[in-house]
């Protein structure tokens, strides 16, 4: 059965300055289907979504919706045409209620003489939430009082509501990694809803890094690489490996994690944690980190692993337990205390906690260790620049030079700058908190070999991997956490990685 064409693009492209991020994209979306969009970070899929949703203007090409030329000047405009997008980053207003967020910008429907009838709005919100099975969310509850997953659901509700209102089941809904912070149950509800939307004749576009989800949910998959559309497959013909191949152009295996260079940890303990606890997050956590070792910390979101890292990096305060560095007990009030004791982290949230956007690359590298380029307390700008140039070369950071603003770099290159910063700090213990999150696969490989390089030099790494695969691949040992407690510890020698299923059993 040939489905009715809902939306198509003709040779869409996008250029930022001299940088072409998207080129010659021709995609078609039909009514009643779910289309997956996959590709590495920076492959261009997010840019395409933004163009369709009216957030960005295309540099070239045209689009058609319902057979008519389509051009959205703003997101609101796109909404009116029946296109709605759920963003990766949270875009809710935290001090407004769920109902107010869902109908933000559309209060007119509930107002008489400009005054909004909140009861009416809450009732409408109730209805929309119920439709998605979100009976546990109260429309009058403030967003700031909700857990993250709940917020995400409100966001999805908001978009679905906007679009279904105007599009009469001819809507195009874009979901940009909606599942990152959802629990399994929530995910199931979401998937059900997405399928329901599809049944009604809408089209849903689904972006996710979790290939299994894509395979579960979609009918058809577009694959992007380096700003080009490189493939299109029917989901029923695809499997995870095939998709990997299409995205990356190579298979994932031990090679990928440079396992042959995995170090065998020495006996020297650099960091020791005894009965560490943070009230309401984890307790009784004990482990030892050896010199030259990569110690993986794994668990689901909310298992407490994030807070273990936060406490060790000085970002959060522990409520109990002991941290010892090189056998000496230490107390951290802030990350700067931790740094002074030789511990520094690569934060997970790169944009918020990693890069210092207004400053150039060289300053971003030196910020953790100004003293390195200083004589008698005075910093030499020249030495700082030379230092930055050295790192740019060593880590292969693609940039115009050390004076370029870091905010103009791509995710992978910005992350490499952050790596340059922690390495430049000469701290022997590094906490890598999702070091490859939002980094394209090429840069990922670079980061993996970099981790091998530094452990060979005697640095010790506490790693929180983005995926279990990554965590297992990189670590010499892995600690699994569940509900705030350590549930298992596995040795992961290069030639004998533990079975993934075994690990997963311990964390769920």
């Amino acid at each position: 059965m040939e489905k009715e064409l809902l939306f198509k693009t003709n040779n869409i492209g996008k250029i930022y300055g001299t940088n072409t991020v998207l080129q010659g994209i021709n995609v078609e979306f039909h009514r009643g289907e779910i289309v997956g969009l996959i590709g590495e970070n920076g492959a261009g899929k997010s840019t395409l979504m933004k163009i369709i949703a009216g957030v960005e203007n295309p540099s070239m090409g045209t689009m058609e919706m319902n057979g008519k030329p389509f051009k959205a000047s703003s997101m609101l405009d796109a909404n009116k045409h029946g296109i709605g997008m759920v963003f990766q980053e949270q875009s809710l207003i935290s001090n407004l209620s769920a109902a107010q967020n869902i109908f933000l910008g559309r209060e007119k429907d509930f107002s008489t003489l400009g005054l909004v009838n909140w009861a009416k709005m809450n009732a409408a919100a109730r209805k929309s939430l119920d439709k998605l099975g979100l009976t546990n969310i109260s429309p009058s509850q403030k967003i700031s009082d909700m857990p993250f997953a709940m917020r995400q659901m409100v966001e999805i509700t908001k978009v679905l509501d906007i679009v279904s209102e105007t599009a009469n089941d001819r809507a195009l809904i874009l979901l940009d990694e909606p599942t990152t912070v959802l629990t399994d149950d929530e995910m199931k509800i979401l998937f059900e809803q997405v399928r329901l939307m599809k049944e009604k004749g809408n089209c849903v576009i689904f972006i996710s890094h979790r290939l299994q989800e894509v395979l579960d949910l979609t009918d058809r998959i577009y694959v992007f690489k380096d700003g080009h559309l490189t493939g299109e497959v029917e989901t029923k013909d695809a499997d995870e490996y095939k998709l990997y191949e299409m995205m990356v152009g190579r298979e994932t295996n031990g090679e990928y994690y440079v396992s042959q260079r995995q170090t065998v940890p020495t006996d020297e303990v650099v960091l020791e944690v005894e009965n560490l606890a943070m009230f309401g997050s984890f307790k009784n956590v004990s482990f030892k980190l050896h010199k030259g070792e990569v110690l993986g910390l794994y668990g689901v979101e909310g298992s407490g692993k994030e807070d273990v890292c936060a406490v060790i990096s000085g970002d959060e305060a522990k409520t109990d337990g002991i941290i010892k560095v090189n056998g000496k007990e230490v107390k951290f009030g802030s990350p700067s205390d931790a740094r002074r004791n030789g511990i520094l982290s690569v934060p997970r949230d790169r944009r918020d906690e990693g890069i210092i956007g207004l400053l150039p690359i060289s300053e971003n590298i030196s910020v953790s260790n100004y003293g390195k380029n200083a004589t008698a307390g005075l910093i030499s700008g020249k030495r700082q620049t030379e230092n930055a140039k050295g790192w740019i070369k060593d880590l292969g950071i693609k940039c115009e030079g050390p004076n370029q603003r870091i905010s103009n770099l791509s995710g992978g290159n910005a992350q490499k700058v952050i790596f340059a910063r922690v390495l430049d700090s000469e701290c022997p213990i590094l906490i890598l908190d999702h070091p490859t999150r939002g980094v394209d696969i090429g840069a990922k490989g670079d980061i993996y070999s970099l981790i091998r390089d530094i452990t060979e030099k005697g640095f010790s790494v506490l790693l929180m991997g983005d995926t279990l695969d990554e965590c297992l691949g990189l670590s010499s040992r892995i600690i699994v956490m569940k509900d705030g407690l350590v549930t298992a510890e596995f040795d992961c020698p290069a030639d004998n990685k533990p079975d993934q299923v075994e690990v997963v059993q311990k964390m769920l």
């Binding site: 957030v55 703003s74 997101m75 609101l76 909404n79 963003f87 949270q90 875009s91 809710l92 207003i93 935290s94 001090n95 407004l96 107010q100 933000l104 910008g105 559309r106 209060e107 007119k108 107002s111 400009g114 005054l115 909004v116 909140w118 009082d145 606890a277 009230f279 309401g280 997050s281 984890f282 307790k283 407490g304 409520t319 109990d320 509900d483 705030g484 407690l485």
Partner: protein, 341 residues
């Protein structure tokens, strides 16, 4: 922090700990929200005990009368602060509008007698000033602190030019009558302020515009993504603040009859202080009309009390400063990682 014994905390599972932590946070948030109100009640009780004059009907009516100008200004500024911006131009606009009205109604300087238009046109002029401020702020992308300061210097300069150094005294009988009109023992100007306050409370809480103000103050990018025309709302807020300043100018003129720039002097910083004491955040997004009222009441009571007990004028400002730092420290909401700018 957990007030129960440590042993208890240790024996709980992490999940239980989490629940109790969330509960505690919710509780402390609630306390924070109500802290200004608790402070207000506490102050009222302590002051009344300390000096019997304080809680006398006469004095309360007094405080209400003096509240008119600060309340109007603070109402307008609430919107500006909710956006995370600041408006230093209100003093200048007050002076300009007051001076302009005094020159257009029956007065001691010239032969003008424009009647009600003599009030309406200056109010529009002040509102226009607000528009210009907002427009320049949005279009030239100049920090609100600086643009509003510049506008303030300009409009107060214009005001002095208008009356050419010799301020006019209002002679229009209806304005003089207005200053001596009372309902329920409360002066008319205070009623004007209260009505304006209530209208603004409705605007803030029951209109799309009000929601948009919160949205922009909390997360400008997200608000824009939700289809809110950020620039338009920002300009509108400055227009509203300009109107509030104009109305405050009118009220101050009704109170004092002499139309000069100094009508607006030393009004703005106290108002902003009062707003912050009431619980409005200077970073935007947090606060509301209730907080504004509480803040203004706290501030007015403090001032009134210090006058009543006759604190030496030399020390009064210093004492006031110390008390306000303490009050803000007690009432302000801060997370552990919240940045104080």
């Amino acid at each position: 922090m957990n007030l129960f014994s440590k042993k208890d905390a240790k024996s709980m599972t992490v999940a239980e700990q989490f629940v109790s932590k969330v509960e505690q946070e919710a509780l402390s948030n609630k306390i924070r929200v109500y802290a200004p109100m608790i402070l207000l009640v506490f102050m009222t009780i302590v002051f009344s005990i300390y000096d019997s004059h304080f809680f006398s009907l006469k004095n309360l009516v007094n405080v209400l009368g003096q509240m008119a100008v600060p309340l109007i200004l603070a109402t307008g500024l609430t919107f500006v602060l909710l956006l995370g911006r600041i408006d230093l131009s209100v003093e200048g606009v007050m002076g300009l509008v007051g001076s302009a009205i005094s020159l257009l109604v029956l007065n001691s300087r010239n032969a003008n007698d424009w009647g009600i238009w003599g009030v309406i046109l200056p109010l529009l002029l002040g509102t226009l000033c607000g528009f210009i401020t907002g427009f320049l702020h949005v279009k030239l992308k100049i920090a609100s602190f600086i643009i509003t300061y510049a506008i303030s210097t300009i409009v107060s300069g214009v005001a002095v030019l208008l009356y050419n150094s010799r301020p006019a005294t209002v002679k229009a009988q209806w304005i003089i009558d207005a200053s001596q009109t009372y309902f329920l023992k409360i002066p008319l100007i205070t009623w004007i302020a209260i009505i304006f306050y209530l209208i603004c409370a409705v605007i803030l809480n029951y209109t799309a515009f009000g929601r948009a103000v919160y949205a922009i103050g909390d997360n400008e990018a997200a608000a824009a993504a939700s289809g809110i025309n950020v620039q338009k709302v920002v300009i509108e807020v400055f227009v509203l603040s300009g109107f509030a300043a104009s109305l405050a100018g009118l009220v101050a003129l009704i109170r004092l009859k002499l139309g000069q720039v100094s009508l607006g002097e030393n009004q703005m910083f106290p108002c902003i202080t009062a707003l912050v004491v009431g619980g409005t955040s200077l970073n935007g997004g947090k606060g509301g009309m209730l907080q504004t009222m509480v803040g203004i009441l706290i501030y007015m009571e403090l001032l009134n009390f210090l006058t009543i007990i006759g604190v030496s004028a030399d020390y009064k400002n210093a004492i006031q400063g110390v008390i306000i730092i303490i009050a803000v420290a007690l009432t302000i909401t801060r997370g552990r990682k919240v940045i104080a700018k």
